[in-house]
Symmetry: D3
Subunit: 230 residues, 6 copies
């Protein structure tokens, strides 16, 4: 039975995931490079911030759509996690309450989960930091949630302005969070790696004092547009 949009209370159990080596390659490239490599799409809104600096991860999205201020589906979601997954939570209406804390993180880590991307609040951030469980969220709040309303797991959701489907690849670091469609992951990795290689060459030239104006041959077009030096 396929998923009918609009249903509430559906858990899709079998999702396809991208190749793990591709996912790990995307993590190494980082958000800014991956975002550029796939044509500048898929970036979540800039209000999504990491709870601590320095984490850089990628994984397969296990998605949740939750009611406002209701974290019941997080428990349901955790059962669907596999090694290397990232939980991604969208809400039916905005809520900054803390949907997730150290106990849920303990459970998720026991299943190999790499992190959480949540368009809502998180709590126990000191503990999560010690545990090394990275979270990107819109808020930090100790205010808890209820468990009253069903949502869905592994259905397409909107999280921080992007549509995310189960099995899409999530890349997250200090620059934010980007989603790569599962089917595009390998192609995007190839482009991202080319980009990094290309950047490495440019970095050396720029470090030696060569100007971007010359490296990218911008002077003629600037002049044509009418740039005047006075």
């Amino acid at each position: 039975m396929s998923y009918q949009p609009g249903q509430k209370g559906v858990v899709v159990q079998n999702i396809e995931r991208a190749d793990q080596a591709v996912i790990d390659g995307l993590a190494e490239c980082g958000v800014a490079t991956v975002h550029e490599a796939q044509g500048r799409k898929g970036l979540l809104a800039s209000y999504m911030r990491p709870i601590y600096p320095g984490a850089r991860i990628a994984g397969s999205a296990v998605t949740m759509l939750s009611a406002a201020c209701d974290n019941w589906m997080v428990h349901v979601c955790i059962e669907q996690l596999q090694e290397g997954d990232i939980m991604v939570l969208g809400t039916m209406s905005p809520c900054d309450n803390g949907y997730f804390g150290d106990l849920l993180a303990t459970s998720a880590m026991a299943r190999g989960c790499r992190g959480l991307v949540i368009d809502a609040g998180v709590r126990d951030v000191a503990d999560l930091t010690k545990m090394g469980f990275p979270v990107w969220s819109r808020a930090i709040s100790a205010q808890g949630t209820v468990k009253e309303t069903l949502g869905d797991v592994n259905v397409p959701i909107v999280c921080a302005g992007q549509t995310i489907e189960a099995g899409d690849v999530i890349v997250a670091d200090d620059d934010g969070v980007c989603v790569v469609r599962r089917a595009d992951a390998a192609r995007v990795l190839t482009k991202a790696e080319e980009r990094l290689e290309n950047e490495e060459a440019k970095r050396k030239r720029l470090a030696s004092g060569e100007l971007g104006l010359d490296l990218y041959d911008m002077r003629p077009r600037l002049a044509e547009k009418g740039l005047k030096y006075v």
Copy 2:
């Protein structure tokens, strides 16, 4: 003479405080646990953020109501501080200016003050970080304030959405700030400690891979609500 609400320019000098051992116990429990233990009330708005990560404190509230962009009452307030107190500042209208910096912190620390919770701005945050004086604020701003208008000290105030009375217990950490009524402090500590103990047991079971769905026996109620696995 008792305090008449609405007066301006009143300093209440003798306030009752909770038992220091109870206060210190609440600090160890942390904001999220204390907030849950007292029935999910008393949490300040999530825009109140610590100026540096990792601090976890509790203390008796010494409250101030200040005019917008006027920090005169901070000086008045410091005289009322005792060992183990936390200053809490609310304003008559919103202002992000820096009401507080390293000199005031030096003075407050000399009286045993443990930190500041301020619904306004703070400055000298690099110095405050070096001094280990934690502040939770709505803004960081070098813009100073004036000393023209009287406010009140140790009267009930609203700070970041919560009513706070002098002598209430303030708990603050990376998750935010919570207020516990003085009279409730001992009872809340008992519940918070029970909660922590209970969580410790759950943590082990979750870490071993047991699911919250089973640990909390959620499956029957989810089924009853109509959750479908597809």
Copy 3:
């Protein structure tokens, strides 16, 4: 030929800078002290936050006015940088996209640039942190920009609520960003240093337990305004 306000596509090449020793002195004083010393003007809006804590810099402003979501002028600007400069970017309309990342920082550092103040977004913040290139920005975003529209370099701009002219001195630290007019720099430094010296004496007295109420002789004026102790 002098700069005509309203033109687009002008690069002013020769700007005057303040004395480097004065600039370095202002850096040591820090934002809060410099801001007070010059009569509480010149502070940029408090939404301008450093990408990592602990940096404290000063430098001569090399200014840019850029179109929304268009970073072309950053490349033009870098050619104008000298040892000790700080790039300052204002936009024609608000945009949170990442105008600046590690390659541009590499190029700017090769010319001796000390940092960037940008009323827009920045990316590659993990790399910038490792490189020790400090940035104060309104947002962190991996979303890139285009190179289509001319702006201006070294013209007066508005950045985060302050007018900034090329050659003004920028001071930036964890408290935010302040601009000092080039012609005022030496005078402001003198006042700032006096202020620091004065503060040092006060700090010792406050640390020993003396109250600000007495140190600043506030009691008579508080009484005159009607402050009541109850």
Copy 4:
């Protein structure tokens, strides 16, 4: 049995109200005058906006504390309404969902309710406008709420930054919302009416071209502070 702060699920049935003639007098004075007359306290945050322009009301507060995104207590509250009351709703954590629409307004109007002040969302605003039922809210949203969690009725709440007790007088117009303590209402009305009379005289003088500088005799103090005309 008296109300114990912190309980959930309490409805206080008998509340004292201010004299209706006083309340009606305060409505005529309007928010800005009443706020000044009581010493500039009691103003709710400026994000509270009327759903349509031109309403000016006052009434006795019937208060509610509701869970986030849960409007169950509105139904409970309506039973407590008397002719001339205003419902005032605060939430346990922030929520912009629409707690209130035309059916609830129909019910409230049947009991003589004059309006709603809600630190959350409202919906059916076109209908409410046609019905002439004024609402001051932080948001307009068609997103509904649940009925799962108990709150309290006629307990002290915080609404948009102010503590409000049942029976306090609420004044609301296009300038916002102000609360007057029940016990202060008569005294505040007297001052407000004096103020209006006083303003009427000033208005005529100002309309004839006399300057505030002269009317309020500001010139000497401005000169003393050092104002220079150039």
Copy 5:
């Protein structure tokens, strides 16, 4: 040739639309009723506000994905409009500039367009009001846009937090904007009309003074949850 997600510069020309009578029926029901009738999904974020009060429309979505601050695709989109359509614009990154004004509205109206829903800015609002062309937007801004970067027309977009596909039904009024999947439109209309009829009966009973507590039989469940009257 089918649309490949991630492409830029694609205009899908033939889209399916819902039955016009169904669409018109949904307009009469209004946003709040339609949103409830379809199970509380599809509501756009509450920051989307009408430029003038009183409009209530429904139509088939003709979607656009535009670059930040670039309105080129609006011109492309207008060619795809049919009688009864509503234009819906999402952006690749946030921008408040005015993408749309009276000339574009003139052109859209000439093709029978009923309105615009835009997750960006709009201008000429006084003219649009006179013309009776309703717009729901996140901002009003006279700042124009460029025409440099291709986007897509009639592809799935995210607008104000909701995924919208070409041909979906958009309903918009003073309460905000809601999207109904094309395939669900007839079913949702039936439910919405039932709901309205049901509400009409309730309205009469509530207007006569019957309480919601009794009408919805809430008293037993409130008592069971522990509500106490004191």
Copy 6:
């Protein structure tokens, strides 16, 4: 004696103004047209909203720089007003308090003032609406201000992100507020009128069903960029 930037407490009494006929012409053109005509500069931030719809004015800026939450300089400013002027207020740090109400408006109108543009709050908006005195502000708030700190009158200020000098022309309508440099006013009016004339012709063609794609000859460049119709 000329104005020294950085001074506080200076009132510049003689300012030059643009030709009144030019100013009135700019009012007729409106903000969006004027902004385009002068090359898309000078637009104030979009958070500046009119207190009532439908006003369209232009006038010579009489500027004020005020301390946070201190409206003393408004009284000083009013003395400097001439027939046809618009008051423009910037603050030294952000404040939403109501700096201005009906008495000040009465006084300003007595001197021929056409309106107020204020990067802060305003109050008595129902009265101002009745009086027909238009205000563009960042907030509406009944919270008053103090009169303690000197500012400046007729010095260059930053208001809502734009530098404004005394005598500059301010144009304001439902789209927002735009500043035109005094020296540019006549030239900008000419361009704005050309633009309006040109738009009139286009409006007719668009109203008749001609597409912008053809009217502006966009098809070749869209094809060149790679737009595909599917």
